[in-house]
């Protein structure tokens, strides 16, 4: 539950974030902020299910579908993103259901679930590459520039508009996170991640609960992909889909902290600033270096700081105040699959 103080802090912080682009107009810095907000939203979407031990490496696939379906519908069918984005989200949601249902119904958990979803994002990447006649394959794809109404095409040239859109989407993600956090579904999913049999015996519909959170998470991730595509106006299979993007989501969420609402955002800030400073520091020689550093950090974090930066910080603060909740004490265990 949010106290009065925290609510006030959120209000002040938000007001400052909304006011920022009107006070500070450096386009490069605004660009970085927009990227951070969009990716934070994607990472938050991933953590929606990741925090309950449903570690999916298929989210690169959902993001790719969000981006490519929206762009393809715009270019080939002339469908406005306002219609294209819901269709792309529905497509990602349908795929999530098709893969998720047998996984959850037949208790494919832990290693098995990770490997199945991993294959899913690999396959989406393959399909995008294989349909190169339409998607441009690994060379990338650009949505056509709108000739008429910019709003209808969801294409804007100024960074301030995009900053405000990204901020709204990000805030939406945080609100959904808190909504789930305060719902009955959270208790059901926590029970499931602790012990599926016990949860089922206590009357939790395991398959339905898992499907619901997976659907929500996939829909949001597809939205993130579509927004990213509309903002960047250029997508390649490697930047929005595939195993690397999935791992990037996991990495950022774990670095920031999987069990707190702003954890994935902190993860996005750290990873994007890291990538940008490497890019500025090394120039074109940086190709590959950012991922090299990511990889090493990911391994080190999992070994030494599995709760993430924000999670560990909050824990420190909390220890002085109150005893953490049961599941937070066990937070080190990202998941307890049925092994």
């Amino acid at each position: 539950m949010m106290g009065q103080g925290r609510l006030a802090a959120w209000g002040v912080g938000l007001a400052a974030l909304v006011a920022l682009p009107f006070v500070y107009r450096d386009p490069y810095h605004l660009h970085i902020l927009v990227l951070i907000l969009i990716w934070s939203f994607a990472y938050t979407s991933w953590s929606m299910m990741g925090r309950f031990g449903l570690v999916s490496l298929g989210h690169g696939g959902f993001m790719g579908i969000g981006a490519y379906v929206t762009a393809l519908l715009w270019n080939h069918a002339g469908l406005s993103p306002w219609i294209g984005i819901p269709i792309s989200m529905a497509a990602a949601g349908a795929l999530a259901m098709i893969v998720g249902y047998p996984c959850f119904r037949f208790r494919i958990t832990g290693h098995y679930f990770v490997l199945v979803t991993l294959a899913l994002s690999g396959i989406v990447l393959q399909v995008i590459t294989a349909t190169r006649d339409y998607t441009g394959g690994s060379l990338g794809y650009t949505p056509n520039r709108a000739s008429g109404n910019k709003l209808l095409a969801l294409q804007f040239d100024d960074k301030t508009t995009w900053y405000l859109i990204a901020l709204a989407v990000w805030l939406f993600g945080i609100v959904v996170w808190h909504w789930v956090d305060r719902s009955m579904a959270r208790y059901a999913l926590e029970a499931i991640s602790e012990d599926e049999d016990a949860a089922a015996a206590a009357g939790v519909d395991v398959t339905a609960e898992k499907l619901k959170i997976t659907l929500l998470s996939a829909l949001m991730t597809a939205l993130a992909g579509a927004i990213y595509c509309q903002y960047q106006m250029f997508i390649t299979p490697d930047t929005v889909s595939g195993i690397a993007v999935s791992l990037q989501m996991v990495f950022a969420a774990i670095v920031g902290g999987l069990f707190v609402s702003l954890g994935p955002t902190v993860g996005a800030i750290i990873t994007i600033l890291l990538a940008e400073s490497l890019r500025i520091g090394f120039g074109t020689k940086a190709v590959g270096w950012d991922n090299l550093v990511y990889g090493v950090l990911l391994v080190l974090f999992i070994i030494f700081l599995p709760k993430g930066i924000l999670g560990s910080l909050l824990d420190r603060l909390k220890l002085q105040r109150k005893v953490p909740r049961a599941h937070e004490q066990k937070a080190v265990q990202v998941a307890r699959p049925g092994t």
Partner: protein, 295 residues
């Protein structure tokens, strides 16, 4: 008359695709065996397994192209190199996480995937490179088979038989099998689990190295080459049942046939898509894997 000719041609292509599928299955089975071995004994899934293969392929490329080694000198060195990599992976990443939740171990190997891919990008660039060895094509009637595939198939079978003999005929092999059955008891029986884990990891690495020597004959090397056969290997292992050697072996050939026959009608990528669709259907029919041995 015309119809008959069409059928004849179709059959030849079909038979060729079926046989090519069997040949592809050999290498996939080798990869699946390595992953299953690691999972069965250490209870860890190496997500970066295909990336170890990629490093091995670069090893082959540089030894043959730059240092002028003959293929048959470079191959054992590559196998050794990847075996050492496998042991290092276990020692540096998995061993500190042995008591951590399984998902954390798995994600850590995901980090290693990043490291290996970007290391290859930084060190070797993103160019496609090939070994420059062109093996002749075997014409059998109207069908053509590349020697590279035949050689891979035979070598993969030999590799698997060697692992089988090692596991059944040597003391270390017996200890490895025993540990895969009961982790706690074997330590009490005086088996040094740490040593066995290290040996198993090296063996898994060696299998990846062997696969690298064979794949480099057929495919170009680039930093992301692991992505083209990594996902399919994971599907094979899940379908066969993780840790189940025989299930993995059978699933390899099933998938190889699907990819090969799917590729007959369109691009190879669609073969992969078909394989994935098949996998989803199989999960409904046989959720516990082809041969059930899941916990």
């Amino acid at each position: 008359m015309g119809m008959q000719a069409f059928l004849d041609v179709f059959d030849i292509y079909l038979l060729e695709a079926v046989i090519n599928g069997i040949l592809l299955g050999g290498v996939l089975a080798l990869l699946a065996l390595g992953l299953n071995l690691i999972f069965g004994v250490i209870d860890v899934t190496w997500i970066c397994y295909a990336e170890l293969v990629m490093i091995g392929m670069y090893g082959m490329y540089f030894m043959v192209q730059y240092y002028g080694f003959s293929y048959f000198v470079a191959a054992p060195l590559t196998i050794l190199l990847v075996a050492v990599l496998g042991a290092a992976l276990h020692y540096l990443v998995i061993a500190p996480l042995l008591t951590a939740p399984p998902i954390n171990q798995l994600l850590a190997t995901g980090g290693v995937l990043f490291v290996l891919q970007s290391f290859a990008t930084v060190a070797f660039g993103i160019d496609f490179r090939n070994l420059g060895i062109r093996l002749p094509v075997l014409a059998l009637g109207d069908m053509n088979f590349s020697y590279a595939r035949l050689l891979s198939f035979v070598a993969a079978l030999v590799g698997m038989v060697a692992v089988y003999l090692f596991m059944t005929r040597t003391f270390t092999g017996t200890a490895i099998r025993a540990i895969s059955q009961d982790r706690q008891i074997m330590a009490l029986m005086g088996v040094d689990t740490k040593r066995i884990y290290l040996i198993t990891s090296a063996l898994g690495g060696a299998l990846a190295g062997l696969a690298a020597c064979l794949l480099v004959l057929q495919y170009d090397v680039h930093p992301f080459v692991g992505l083209s056969f990594g996902p399919i290997t994971f599907l094979i292992c899940v379908l066969g049942g993780l840790g189940n050697f025989i299930g993995g072996f059978i699933a390899s050939f099933v998938f190889a046939e699907i990819i090969s026959l799917g590729g007959l009608f369109s691009d190879l990528e669609w073969g992969y898509v078909l394989a994935f669709a098949f996998f989803i259907v199989m999960m409904f029919i046989r959720p516990a894997g082809l041969l059930t041995r899941r916990r």
